[in-house]
């Protein structure tokens, strides 16, 4: 028989105002096994914990029940308290009488009754608890960063500086991400390349960093501290070691019909290309879908023109297998599809562009060499209209429900840069709200209005069409004056919603990391664990977790790196003892559990068993406790009731249910 102590917490007035804590103590005092019960204002305080420790010693307790907040909050605290008093930490149960009771009920009588029932269930469980010992697993001291944008680069640099080796897997031929495509950056207007390329070079030269560019993660198995990852290094048909990045080949390639992704397809590139001058690695890459040699077997001009002999049409995809202790996801974002907004004529008129396209047009290395021109006739524009929130903040099938967060600031940036360089251009911005929280952000926007005379119009654009003069007419509304606005303009710039990169679902599935309804990766706790995924050992960095600008991305990247370093600094990890186990006499080797296990923790062995004196070899399920997360899927799936979970055994759960239904 257990000797159980019950400790009822008031949580100040959080619990005590709705639950009669004295009545709870009174009611559980005579439950089977209980030999001590008391309440206290704050059980989690030093004094409260001291009280528990004293009671354990004084009454020789073998198990305790704490009636308090959610076990997510303080289970760890009370387990430690019990351990300090010499009790096995798994002899502690929490009855959640706050989130599950006082916070959701108003009637004190009913709430008190429910608190008593929850306490009884926990007592019934402790009566069947047995001491458990956690296991240990080793930590591979190497990190993987998926995605080489500013988020991935910063996380990798911080982890590498702390002394741990890091691999960056980047799917495009160069690292740098979207920031490499930007011209100037708010709020200080420094040139994106000037602040990004030094970091790219630093990453490339760092002795602890290894970059797998033009590569993708193929498969991930294992668990925190021990991930096994398969990386596919796609053939770029150029020897990375030999190529000097001279770009002679890229100029000579005759296959020039395909769009240049780096310039948002506003101009074309060769089939062999280096995305931009400061690419890292500065190595050419052949796009085999466009290369004449791959289509006809002829051409080969690049091969002939390369003095380093780096072109190699026979190169094959390569699979690299590597072990990692921690994984950072930094897969970033893309611009959402604006073609659904046919009222803006994006697909019909070349002078209707997205903001990212404008970045390229404004950039000295862009399709117009940094001169602001209409893409239709290469003429200097006189008027430009910006439309905010295209695809953000709606609840229809065309929209994202969220605010993309960065557009108000980058539009103010675009407006000012244009007015600064071309004072003759009139700039109009249609907005719903201007959202500029952030250090020096609102001041930045006000500067656009007050000093640069940018015309901000509160209202939306209904439609855009080409008028007789070959310019664009914009029909909108000014809600503040309740007037219809008709504007003739030369360019229309759409501040399109941003969304997680294509392929993030695939990454999330491989990592068993969760994503939200918008495909952004979910954090373990939105406030207190913002850079960790709920999957142990997986960390989040940058826009893949939610819309954010560069300053925020860099801060988050650093935070994720610290979490990784904290993990890699450990030699061993404690593993939860609450894992599944098959009863070998009951198991019939049917494979049901193997099929439901989301972590691949179950396999089968042939084992000799002694079934009531009958010796025979049987196929029996075996759980790898290092892989098992204790989710319990197998225990409910097992048709013969052979699977059980330590710490949550079928008997314990049934005892809880019985106590509730009593």
């Amino acid at each position: 028989m257990q000797r159980i102590g019950v400790f009822v917490c008031w949580c100040g007035s959080n619990i005590a105002a709705t639950v009669d804590v004295d009545a709870v103590v009174e009611a559980v005092k005579n439950e089977p096994g209980v030999c001590h019960a008391q309440n206290y204002q704050y059980m989690c305080s030093e004094a409260g914990q001291g009280l528990i420790k004293n009671a354990i010693k004084e009454h020789n307790l073998t198990g305790i029940v704490v009636c308090s907040c959610s076990p997510r909050m303080h289970e760890a605290t009370f387990r430690k308290t019990a351990e300090q008093a010499g009790l096995n930490p798994y002899m502690v149960e929490i009855a959640n009488i706050r989130e599950h009771c006082s916070w959701i009920h108003k009637d004190k009588k009913e709430a008190t009754e429910k608190a008593v029932i929850l306490a009884r269930a926990a007592i019934a469980k402790v009566n069947l608890n047995t001491p458990l010992r956690p296991g240990e697993s080793m930590v591979t001291k190497r990190a993987l960063v998926i995605g080489g944008g500013i988020a991935g680069i910063q996380s990798a640099l911080d982890i590498a500086d702390a002394g741990y080796p890091v691999d960056i897997v980047e799917k495009s031929p160069t690292i740098g991400g979207k920031m490499a495509q930007l011209d100037k950056t708010f709020p200080t207007l420094d040139c994106a390349a000037c602040i990004l390329t030094p970091k790219m070079v630093e990453a490339a030269q760092h002795p602890n960093i290894n970059i797998y560019s033009y590569s993708e993660v193929e498969a991930v198995t294992g668990f925190v501290g021990n991930f096994d990852v398969k990386i596919k290094k796609k053939a770029r048909f150029v020897d990375e070691k030999k190529c000097t990045g001279c770009a002679v080949c890229t100029a000579k390639c005759p296959s020039r019909k395909g769009g240049n992704e780096f310039n948002c397809n506003l101009d074309n590139r060769g089939a062999i290309y280096i995305p931009f001058a400061q690419a890292v690695p500065n190595v050419a890459c052949i796009d085999s879908t466009r290369c004449i040699h791959f289509k006809t077997g002829k051409c080969g001009i690049c091969e002939k023109s390369c003095s380093a002999g780096a072109v190699n049409f026979d190169q094959k995809d390569e699979i690299i297998e590597q072990k990692y202790g921690a994984i950072v996801v930094a897969t970033g974002f893309q611009i959402s599809d604006v073609t659904k907004f046919d009222e803006f004529q994006y697909t019909k008129h070349p002078d209707v562009i997205t903001s990212l396209e404008l970045e390229r047009i404004m950039n000295a290395a862009g399709p117009t060499k940094g001169t602001l021109l209409r893409m239709s006739n290469k003429e200097h524009p006189k008027d430009i209209v910006f439309i905010q929130c295209v695809g953000s903040r709606g609840n229809t099938c065309r929209d994202k429900t969220y605010c993309s967060k960065i557009c108000c600031m980058y539009t103010a940036k675009h407006a000012m840069l244009i007015r600064e360089k071309y004072p003759d251009v009139n700039v109009h911005v249609f907005y719903i709200d201007v959202r500029t929280p952030g250090k020096n952000f609102d001041e930045f926007y006000r500067r656009a209005v007050e000093q640069y005379n940018v015309d901000y119009i509160k209202g939306m654009v209904g439609k855009v069409w080409e008028n007789e003069e070959g310019r664009l007419t914009v029909q909108g509304v000014d809600l503040l004056s309740n007037r219809r606005i008709m504007l003739d303009t030369d360019m229309v710039v759409l501040a399109a919603a941003i969304e997680p990169s294509e392929g993030v679902r695939n990454i999330a599935t491989m990592l068993t990391a969760s994503i939200d309804t918008n495909d952004f990766l979910t954090e373990a706790h939105p406030k207190l664990r913002p850079v960790e995924s709920p999957t142990a050992g997986v960390f989040l960095s940058g826009v893949c977790q939610g819309p954010k600008d560069i300053p925020e991305t860099v801060s988050q990247a650093g935070a994720a790196a610290v979490k990784v370093v904290g993990l890699l600094a450990k030699d061993k990890l404690v593993t939860s003892p609450c894992t599944a186990n098959a009863n070998e006499l009951m198991c019939n080797g049917c494979s049901t559990c193997e099929r439901v296990c989301p972590y691949g923790a179950i396999d089968y062995i042939d084992k000799e068993v002694n079934d009531h004196g009958k010796r025979e070899v049987r196929r029996i399920a075996r759980v790898n406790s290092a892989l098992c997360h204790g989710c319990g899927a197998c225990t409910v799936a097992c048709p013969s009731g052979a699977m059980d979970l330590q710490g949550f055994s079928n008997r314990q759960i049934m005892a809880e249910v019985d106590a509730i239904c009593k």
Binding site: C389, T396, R484
Partner: protein, 123 residues
């Protein structure tokens, strides 16, 4: 009265974020005294009498451009329709005697409105 409009239209006008997309899209905007985006907030504020007396309910083409474009699924044309229907259903309303109808007919009057008026007078 707000509740009636909300019930008839099946629309929650509080979903409106006051972006003005409806009014920016509306082909009848210039003829209206109260504009589509105002319907949402005026229903919320309970200013139904003003809406009932508004010219806009007869000027709305029921083209559903606003319904198509509203990013918050407020579907202003349905609110306008609900106000229009309320006027038509109002018993003892003096402005829709059968003799008056020919004078009211104008090319922009929605046929839906005429049909509703006739339904009423057949009773």
């Amino acid at each position: 009265m707000s509740e009636d409009i909300i019930a008839i239209s099946g629309i929650n006008p509080r979903q409106c974020m006051k972006c003005g997309k409806c009014s920016a899209t509306c082909p009848a905007f210039e003829e209206m005294d109260i504009h589509p985006h105002q319907f949402a907030s005026m229903v919320v504020e309970g200013r139904i009498d003003e809406l009932l007396a508004s010219e806009s309910i007869w000027k709305c083409l029921s083209c559903f451009a606003c319904v198509e474009r509203c990013p918050r699924s407020v579907e202003p044309a349905k609110l306008i329709e609900a106000v229009r229907v309320s006027v038509l259903r109002e018993r003892g309303g003096s402005f829709l005697s059968p003799d008056e109808i020919p004078a009211k007919l104008d090319p922009e009057l929605p046929s839906q409105a005429i049909a509703a008026a006739f339904r009423k007078y057949r009773k």
